[in-house]
């Protein structure tokens, strides 16, 4: 029974890790950019949810109605106005720009919100179901559902819509897509917008489940990076599987060795199959 409990907890944790990684993998796969500011984007999402929920007195989950479109627009503007410009000069300057963004955003959050711990609580925070020796917190189920829905909607968008197909075409062959009339820069902008929107969801999950600080982004970037590398850069289903594997590794390693086991797995993956589980 205890093994089953570990597996369930690993899956529940893995859902959050998957949604953490999915925004980063999109940017990896489509824009071919390592976005070092992804962790800070997630923490901005967490602050936005916590503070809006506190100010309006609504459930933090409802804040997604505001934070997702808002983050999407910010992402689009950021890509179109800043990153697209430096990408003309090669991928290294763009990488450095995201690194700079990460530092600027972290310091801006420190200045605005102070370094105090934050946490968003919901009415369901303390509800736990006990089923035949297995305990599952309602919050964890809600967060898993939110994470899975985010990934499913994203997959549907990429596979079934015209815009999604043009994004995938750009990802596969930028030149060919461009020749077919796809605006590459606009596609990149939308991809960054989507990545930011997923960061808003990941931020909400973190705010509800854990406490966070302006400096927490670095740790979550590392987790997202691990998920992306294990799953395969650019693969959405890969991110989901990798999130679950990473979550299980954390639970199996326990609080004592969870981080260690997770990163050992990452190194093994880099050595044995650097393209990840699901990459072509």
């Amino acid at each position: 029974m205890i093994v089953l409990q570990y597996i369930i907890n690993g899956i529940l944790l893995g859902g959050i890790y998957a949604v953490l990684g999915v925004g980063m993998t999109m940017i990896f796969g489509i824009v071919k950019l390592t976005n070092l500011a992804h962790g800070e984007f997630v923490i901005i999402g967490a602050y936005a949810s916590t503070l809006i929920a506190g100010a309006l007195g609504v459930d933090p989950i409802l804040t997604l109605i505001v934070t997702i479109p808002f983050m999407f627009i910010i992402g689009m503007i950021l890509q179109s106005g800043l990153i697209n410009r430096v990408m003309l000069k090669g991928s290294e300057p763009a990488l450095l720009v995201t690194f700079g963004l990460s530092i600027i955003l972290q310091d801006a959050m420190l200045l605005l919100f102070t370094a105090d711990a934050r946490h968003a609580g919901g009415a369901y925070s303390s509800i736990v179901f006990h089923l035949g020796g297995i305990s599952i917190a309602l919050l964890d189920i809600i967060l898993l559902v939110i994470s899975l829905l985010t990934i499913l909607i994203l997959s549907w968008f990429l596979n079934k819509t015209y815009m999604g197909r043009s994004i995938r075409a750009t990802s596969d062959d930028t030149q060919a897509a461009s020749l077919m009339g796809v605006s590459v820069k606009r596609t990149y902008g939308i991809a960054m917008g989507i990545a930011m929107a997923t960061a808003a969801v990941a931020g909400l999950c973190i705010a509800l489940k854990w406490t966070y600080y302006p400096s927490s982004g670095g740790g979550y970037l590392l987790t997202a990076f691990g998920v992306v590398v294990i799953g395969g850069m650019g693969s959405i289903p890969g991110t989901l599987v990798a999130g679950l594997i990473f979550g299980l590794a954390q639970v199996i390693g326990g609080a004592n060795y969870g981080l260690l086991v997770g990163y050992i797995l990452l190194i093994i993956m880099l050595a044995v199959r650097p393209q990840g589980l699901f990459s072509k």
Partner: protein, 446 residues
């Protein structure tokens, strides 16, 4: 095209800043890294005291009240004619830097105090995470240092480590004493020594956690308790399933440890989720202060109810400052009147730290560092947190004991949590007021 790009970039920046500002309006103001309190009055010179405080960050609750205390004592010196240094009257200036609760930043700020501000004394205060790096810098630079409000053991192990410290003088309780305080609380909850009660340990593998862990593991079996030790964990771990499972399978009666609020929240919720039903929870660090308990209550109302912790100071403690003549209660009342909040335990120690510093300069009558150090070493002072005398030594660190009692967070009718002192047996010779009785039940026994 270029103009449009620049416009878009500017728009992005404005939007990003405006979003952050909009969110920040309800999130509290900014805190600059450094702030100072000038001495006021007309003096021949100024004594500079360096003070690194966790004003923001995970330990911000411990740092609360620093500015208030600094202002009050600086003003007291100014109003009382200053301190006589080499025959002339000097005011004091306390230079406060925010550590952001980061140990590296503590060292950086302490170095800045030593090299750029040329302080005459350093105050190392607020948990081992701050005290160890700041005291370490003071010892290296040869600056007299009042170290306070961090358990003696980790400071002794990390600052002295067997070599005699020359400049650092520590005052607080030892972990052996806090163990006694927790033991008294377990007894109050019905888990007395030699009853075979099982104590589950919860310690992160940082300086503080390691020191507590080693001593608890050594003393618990001697008192007839069964130790359930799932091992220490890195602070910041995401998943506590294995720890909670270990507690549950062992059937612990008592959950004991010391953790920062984020770790404790994860651990405690994992325990609740796993159905751990310990009848008694004693937890250091994260459950000392109103602000930190509010993080738990923000998750679920009543989450902190019934948790017990060590209490080192409250305004109703029966002490009066020999330096300023102010009684503990009067200071607490003034704090409440000025800030609208109860004076937190660490703020009482911040007051005591400045008392010790002022007393040392009064006794030395000079700014010569060795003379000030000798005056500090000879301290025998009634402070607002009780009598302090540096008459003991651990691993080369000179220290003095301060008092400790036991308290419990109890949910009030208005929905707030209040820390009630329920045990004063560790220092039975001092009349620490009992403010309530033990009440059974925690979030684990619902």
């Amino acid at each position: 095209m270029k103009k449009r790009g620049i416009l878009a970039l500017a728009l992005a920046l404005i939007l990003a800043v405006s979003m952050l500002a909009a969110c920040g309006s309800s999130g509290g103001g900014s805190t600059p890294a450094g702030s100072g309190a000038a001495s006021g009055g007309d003096f021949a010179g100024t004594i500079k005291i360096g003070y690194v405080n966790p004003t923001t960050g995970a330990l911000a609750g411990n740092g609360e009240g620093c500015d208030w205390v600094v202002k009050r004592l600086t003003q007291w010196v100014a109003d009382n004619g200053g301190i006589t240094i080499d025959g002339k009257q000097y005011g004091i200036q306390v230079i406060v830097y925010d550590s952001e609760s980061d140990s590296s930043k503590c060292s950086e700020m302490a170095q800045k105090l030593a090299e750029e501000d040329n302080v005459d004394m350093m105050i190392a205060i607020q948990t081992p995470e701050t005290v160890i790096p700041v005291a370490g810098v003071a010892e290296r630079y040869g600056i007299p240092c009042v170290a306070i409000q961090a358990p003696v053991n980790p400071v002794a192990a990390n600052v002295a480590g067997g070599d005699k410290t020359e400049w650092v003088f520590e005052a607080f309780w030892t972990i052996e004493k806090v163990y006694e305080a927790h033991k008294a609380l377990w007894t109050a909850a019905g888990y007395a020594p030699n009853t075979g009660a099982k104590v589950g340990l919860a310690f992160a593998n940082d300086a503080d956690g390691s020191a507590w862990h080693d001593i608890f593991c050594e003393l618990l079996p001697k008192d007839g308790y069964e130790v359930v030790d799932p091992g220490m964990y890195p602070s910041g771990s995401d998943d506590f399933t294995s720890i909670a499972a270990a507690y549950k399978s062992a059937g612990i009666d008592v959950l004991a440890g010391t953790n920062i609020p984020p770790d404790f929240l994860k651990l405690y919720k994992a325990c609740i989720s796993a159905g751990v039903s310990a009848g008694c929870v004693t937890m250091g660090k994260c459950c000392l202060l109103d602000g930190d308990v509010a993080v738990l209550e923000n998750d679920t109302q009543g989450l902190a109810n019934g948790i017990m912790t060590e209490v080192w100071w409250q305004p109703n403690y029966p002490f009066t400052s020999a330096v300023t003549g102010e009684a503990s209660q009067a200071i607490g009342d003034a704090y409440l009147a000025d800030t609208g909040r109860n004076m937190p335990q660490p703020a009482g120690y911040a007051y005591a730290a400045l008392e010790l510093a002022i007393n040392a300069f009064q006794k030395a009558g000079t700014l010569d560092k060795e003379a000030v150090r000798d005056a500090l070493a000879a301290t025998d002072l009634d402070t607002v947190v009780g009598p302090i005398k540096y008459d003991q030594e651990m691993m080369g660190l000179t220290y003095g004991d301060t008092v400790i009692a036991g308290g419990q967070w109890q949910l009030q009718e208005d929905g707030t949590e209040k820390l009630v002192v329920i045990d004063n047996t560790v220092y039975s010779n001092i009349d620490i007021p009992i403010t309530g009785e033990y009440k059974a039940g925690t979030a684990l026994t619902k």
